[in-house]
């Protein structure tokens, strides 16, 4: 299934979409937007995506998960556009006959999504500043490597 949507994510619909009568367990991860970042109060967030590549990338992650674990259904839904603090930005639901598979696959999917799926978060702070979120291990300016500049 999988989706990238500007609408609020219907968590129950995502859960229902992976229910199967054969299912033993469903693991769901919900990422909610935080009210603080870098010590500053966040008032709202905005997500931008390279939508067709992000959809393709999520399908590739789904296929990898299905190769590694024995799964019934997978649904990855990411929101784009403005998201209020506390609302889900991403919901991933995985159903499987054995819970171990669902837990491991769900964890794999959110970890990989955060590494490779082309989606970006912009944080609007209470002090009026606006910043594209960068992972702390990927600060481009400070971790610049001189060798990479031929």
């Amino acid at each position: 299934m999988n989706d990238i949507t500007p609408d609020p994510i219907d968590v129950l619909a995502v859960v229902d979409s992976v229910k199967a009568h054969a299912a033993g367990g469903i693991d769901i991860f919900i990422g909610t937007t935080r009210d603080h970042s870098k010590g500053k109060k966040v008032v709202s967030l905005e997500y931008e995506a390279y939508v067709p590549m992000a959809m393709k990338s999520m399908t590739e992650l789904e296929n990898k998960a299905r190769q590694r674990w024995n799964l019934h259904e997978i649904n990855i839904v990411h929101r784009i556009g403005k998201v209020a603090v506390g609302e889900p930005s991403v919901v991933i639901a995985v159903s499987s006959a054995h819970r171990d598979d669902a837990f491991q696959a769900c964890r794999f999917l959110i970890d990989q999504l955060k590494l490779v799926v082309p989606i970006w978060k912009r944080e609007y702070f209470a002090d009026g500043s606006v910043e594209w979120s960068m992972q702390t291990h990927e600060q481009p300016v400070t971790h610049e490597s001189p060798q990479a500049h031929p």
Binding site: Y47, M53, K56, H78, K114, I119, W120, Q135
Partner: protein, 86 residues
């Protein structure tokens, strides 16, 4: 005799879009250009692209590629800053 130039569709997102000041542009480049050519092109618009270079990934036709990937006419070439979905 110079060979015909090729045209790529350059797409920018997030901070790369802000740095460049545009989000999409058709760009003519020499044939046999490699993916890193788009970063050299962008550095002419804003020297910060040179400093940020190591943290920018390139996707050609929606697949991540390395800096030496050969570009072809009609390729969609996206500059992908560090992602922060989730």
């Amino acid at each position: 005799m110079e060979s015909k130039r090729i045209t790529i569709r350059l797409k920018l997102f997030s901070s790369a879009k802000d740095l460049a000041g545009f989000d999409e542009r058709l760009v003519d480049i020499p044939p046999d250009s490699k993916s890193e050519a788009v970063l050299i092109y962008l550095a002419k618009h804003n020297p910060l692209f040179e400093r940020w270079r190591t943290s920018l990934r390139i996707a050609v036709n929606m697949e991540y590629v390395d800096s030496q990937h050969l570009l072809h006419d009609g390729d969609e070439v996206a500059v992908i800053p560090p992602v922060s979905g989730g």
